[in-house]
Symmetry: C2
Subunit: 242 residues, 2 copies
DNA sequence: CGCATCTTTGAACTGGTTCAAGATCCGTGG
DNA sequence: CCACGGATCTTGAACCAGTTCAAAGATGCG
């Protein structure tokens, strides 16, 4: 059950400069000067689907930047069920609370094979005080986390089950490939606050009416406009007035 | 519809030191030295129920500390309906995004008569760079905002309507007075993702089975243990295992 | 190939919505 | 001070989306 993270040590920071997701990530706008301030190692982490990055209550000594894959942040409910509080996509930052708190507040678990950078909080603290650029970035990341939470609530916990599933498909759609890799039905249920059966039925129906086009196990090509329609968005992504 | 805020200018900062909610608020642990850095005025604001503090998209030039009352942060949905993203209680900080963003992301509206302090972002920026205590506080507030969002999702958008209403009552319960002032049914609906009728029915039922004891228009004395039970929490507030 | 896990489907049931009609509250003006 | 009118709140009854429980297909792994 409790999979262990697979760590690969990566001592040279030069790679940060060339990192594919850096333009979206925490170290976004750091200068070479800034990087010189960093003496601690930044680790490279690979997680397989279902590996746990950390559990709620774990000692928080690093924050993470997701380079590829998909991570769910989970609150476990009193009744033992889980509720996915939000998803982190590549470029996103995970575990910001390490900066201000002793321990993590969520469970963070990979729902696709993922690669991340582990950044010790000591690095963040040093850069936060000595690089105004990173300082600003940290504040930006907090802002992003709050907006992500709020959007998650309005998108994934509001409206009918059909609307939510449609929004989730669109959210997970990879505009590069035009394909969408759906998580397991149980995860979908935990994300949308519905049962696995309802999730399954709706997805099956979306396939029948060709909003989803099967490519491989849980991978679909989306009829984006059709799904936007079901989700209650206009073709251009803006709001629908009723 | 668009009520205007009622501003009362309050030039002397000495009052901050003596503010009733300060120990919970942003200026929590500032020293007198820190306060000397502040040259900008901090305004005192009074809002009546239904007054709007700011709208989504408004130019964000101040952040606010709530001294008394209750503020809802709202996302308007594509279909024109509203969804309450979270509530801010006294001691809470509103509009943190002013630090990193041009404009506000929510609508902020009083659902009870409220008093707030308006703090210009210039003050925050100065203190952020010159007072390590405030700097830490700002990060703490961001953290708090994220945790509040996540809790709001798991408490108010998860489980049956009965559970949600019970949790909302407990959330709004004032431990000082032992009383709970409920918002209008429409607001309750927007908070819990249910219809006003369902909210009304459940509250009426809670009154019948004496979980709520009528005091005055929308003010009730709670049977806290009974409501915890309905909400799926144990008497001590911890989790219920099933 | 066979077992465990995940997904789909069916059928009965139920919590919540919808629509519609009363009841209650509250401010306003006579 | 009371009576009127608008808004909010409550209640009823029919309906429906989503759940529940159960069982039959897929799918993947050793």
């Amino acid at each position: 059950m409790n999979h262990t993270a697979n760590h690969v040590f990566r001592p040279d920071l030069a790679r940060c400069r060339d990192c594919g997701v850096r333009k979206f990530a925490l170290f976004n706008n750091l200068t070479d000067e800034d990087f010189k301030l960093v003496h601690m190692p930044v680790e490279d982490i690979a997680l397989a689907k279902r590996d746990i990055l950390y559990n709620a209550g774990d000692l928080a000594q690093s924050i993470y930047t997701l380079r590829s894959g998909l991570i769910k942040l989970v609150h476990y409910l009193p009744d033992g069920n889980q509720r996915v509080v939000r998803l982190v996509r590549p470029g996103g930052t995970i575990g910001l609370e390490a900066i201000v708190s002793e321990c993590f507040t969520h469970h963070a678990e990979a729902i696709q094979d993922s690669r991340l950078c582990r950044i010790p909080i000591a690095v963040i603290e040093k850069l936060d005080s000595e690089s105004p650029r990173l300082h600003k970035q940290v504040l930006n990341r907090w802002h992003q986390a709050v907006m992500d939470s709020d959007n998650w609530l309005t998108q994934m916990s509001t409206g009918t089950a059909r609307e939510r599933v449609a929004r989730l498909c669109l959210f997970l759609n990879d505009s590069e490939t035009g394909n969408c890799q759906l998580p397991g039905r149980e995860d979908i249920g935990a994300m949308l606050g519905i049962t696995t059966e309802t999730a399954s039925r709706i997805i099956a129906d979306f396939r029948r009416i060709e909003l989803l086009d099967f490519q491989a196990r849980n991978i679909f090509h989306l009829d984006v406009d059709g799904l936007r329609d079901v989700a209650g968005m206009d073709e251009d992504g803006s709001a629908n007035q009723v």
